[in-house]
């Protein structure tokens, strides 16, 4: 066990092997899905392949971006405790440009390609005969979609890179050598985090999931859909951070992190699982109660149709499991239980995205979910590889950060 704060993460050979193996699984799953269904066949078949790519790329992009949000929100609140593992958060956030580019390619291909099967509002001929989509065409148009998507990914990546650079600069010690400089650093850091939060509020929290996910059901709308997507991916992002913290801790890294920090991460996962449920239920109940056909059409195939098993299972995994398992203090401080809940939650919210995308794309039969899981594993491989690489480049502890003392003496 080493305890130096200057130490870097050295990925074990097995770590990278697993990462590459997962990527290979992803590629194989994608290829076999393309061969068996892609391109040809009926409506469902053609959409199948692209819907899977869409679901996975958007989900994992939002998950790694949630790490970015966690970092900026805690910075904005002048929190100190998260500094103990801030390099882990940064490393996960460094996946944003990589997965962002993949998602960008997929989204733009869906928007400008001639596959109108997923975003049928991209079909000009169809829109001309559809007064509802015609009316929405200011928002659901190719130009607007592309602009927002590109801007979103670029801004996330850029601001994430800026935050990372600021954090790395403290390692040299020059920017935090005097009290005045430390104050200035904290101020600059806060401003940068605030900028990101504004971008985040205008994207994930309010508009981007409308375009990327909700526009698959182009006639249907829910104003809180984006906010609900944010809750979903934020819980998964927190779980990803917790998984990495546990993993590094088990390998003898991160000397400043102790059970107090893990406990607080557990509280976040617990609280935001309930928050997610609250949003899920608020959306569901209003539609259920009003019982207007143009709204209930969304939940009909999900809650009562062929997708109902996935729908209810996802609710159990994402709500009942975290609330019961994480309620007690001891379970939030136990490495094994935190790992189990984190994996469950990441999988549960992946299922949530699955049931957002596929009932619209393939309403008559539930597609073979193993292909989608395979592609999902590919994305996990990418996250593992990029995160591991970023972790290995610089010291694992931001030891000169002005708030590092708060992180050391932190207790819940």
């Amino acid at each position: 066990m080493s305890t130096s704060t200057t130490e870097k993460f050295i990925p074990a050979k097995r770590y990278n092997t697993i990462a590459f193996a997962l990527m290979v699984v992803g590629v194989i799953a994608a290829i076999s899905l393309f061969v068996t269904t892609g391109g040809e066949g009926d409506h469902d078949n053609r959409a199948r392949f692209w819907a899977s790519l869409l679901q996975n790329s958007v989900y994992f992009l939002l998950v790694v971006n949630a790490a970015m949000f966690f970092m900026c929100a805690t910075t904005l609140a002048w929190g100190g405790w998260q500094i103990a593992f801030t390099r882990v958060t940064e490393a996960i956030a460094s996946c944003v440009p990589v997965i962002g580019v993949i998602a960008l390619v997929i989204l733009l291909a869906l928007c400008f390609g001639d596959h109108h099967t997923i975003y049928h509002w991209t079909d000009a001929e169809h829109v001309a005969h559809d007064p509802v989509l015609e009316h929405k065409s200011g928002f659901l148009s190719k130009g607007f979609f592309a602009t927002v998507t590109i801007l979103t990914v670029v801004l996330w990546s850029f601001l994430g890179w800026k935050m990372r650079q600021m954090s790395l600069k403290t390692d040299e010690g020059e920017v935090v050598s005097t009290l005045e400089k430390r104050k200035k650093f904290v101020w600059n850091n806060t401003v940068m985090a605030a900028l990101y939060i504004v971008v985040f509020a205008l994207t994930v929290m309010s508009s981007v999931p409308w375009l990327w996910i909700m526009s698959i059901d182009a006639h249907w709308y829910s104003t809180m859909f984006s906010w609900y997507n944010f809750a979903s991916t934020f819980v998964a992002g927190l779980s990803l951070i917790a998984l990495y913290v546990v993993f590094l801790k088990n390998n003898g890294y991160l000397p400043l992190v102790n059970k107090e920090h893990l406990h607080d991460l557990g509280k976040f996962i617990f609280a935001f699982s309930i928050f997610w449920t609250y949003l899920w239920f608020a959306q569901f109940m209003l539609i259920w109660y009003a019982n207007i056909p143009e709204e209930t059409v969304y939940f009909k195939p999900r809650a009562e149709g062929i997708y109902s098993a996935i729908f209810w299972m996802m609710l159990i995994i994402n709500f009942v499991a975290p609330i019961l398992i994480f309620m007690s203090r001891d379970s939030k401080r136990n490495y094994t239980i935190v790992t189990i809940v984190s994996v469950l939650v990441i999988f549960g919210h992946w299922l949530d995205f699955f049931q957002m995308v596929f009932p619209a794309v393939s309403p008559t039969k539930v597609p073979m979910i193993l292909f989608d899981m395979g592609i999902g594993l590919g994305f996990i491989g990418i996250i593992m590889f990029v995160t591991g690489r970023t972790l290995s480049k610089h010291a694992l502890t931001a030891r000169n950060h002005p708030f590092v003392k708060e992180a050391v003496i932190h207790h819940t």
């Binding site: 239920f281 569901f284 109940m285 259920w288 109660y289 019982n291 309620m327 203090r329 207790h411």
Partner: protein
């Protein structure tokens, strides 16, 4: 309830208090409690206090509230007096969840407040007394419980050595009781001036 003797000492600094608590406990004295005007992080651990079970009580009150809500609404709307609300089923769970949630919160909140009062022996007309009124203002008051074997002079000297000021011997009735504490000399014994 029995009247017990306590030795009290007044501390002005956290930095003095923490080592003093450690020393006093290590010397084998029984610290009755430390009274502070505000919560001090880590003091409960230093005093060797057990984590509270209040939250377990809260959980039990909470599920009692959930059960009360669902069983009453279920009985009233689905069994005793069925009403057709816009074609919804009689047993329409989604509509009841807000009420189940509210009753869960209500039961756990009220129950926990009452339990907390009971644990702290707070109730209308129950009198509480301070070893030193300054523990509500600006100092930390440590009370050591005396047993038959405690050498009081030695304990006083030890406490002073550990950094306490205004060290006193005081008597208190344990547990809770009704009455006017400013008049009941019986329950306090005689106040001993600062030694």
């Amino acid at each position: 309830m029995a009247i017990k003797k306590f030795i009290t000492g007044n501390f002005y600094e956290e930095a003095v208090l923490f080592p003093a608590v450690k020393k006093v406990r290590r010397a084998g004295y029984k610290v009755h409690d430390v009274y502070t005007p505000f919560p001090i992080h880590g003091l409960d651990k230093e005093l060797g206090m057990k984590d509270t079970d209040l939250h377990i009580a809260g959980f039990i009150y909470g599920i009692t509230g959930t059960t009360t809500a669902i069983s009453f609404i279920g009985w009233a709307l689905a069994r005793d007096w069925q009403i057709n609300f816009g074609g919804k089923p009689f047993f329409s769970l989604p509509a009841w969840i807000p009420i189940m949630f509210e009753l869960t919160v209500l039961f756990s909140a009220v129950g926990m407040v009452l339990t907390f009062c009971w644990l702290c022996q707070l109730a209308p007309f129950v009198k509480k007394d301070h070893f030193n009124p300054r523990s509500t203002d600006d100092t930390f008051v440590m009370a050591i419980e005396c047993t038959d074997k405690t050498n009081e002079a030695e304990a006083i000297a030890f406490l002073k050595e550990a950094g306490a000021q205004d060290v006193q011997i005081q008597s208190r009735e344990t547990g809770w009781w009704f009455g006017r504490y400013d008049r009941e000399t019986v329950r306090f014994g005689k106040k001993v001036a600062a030694v």
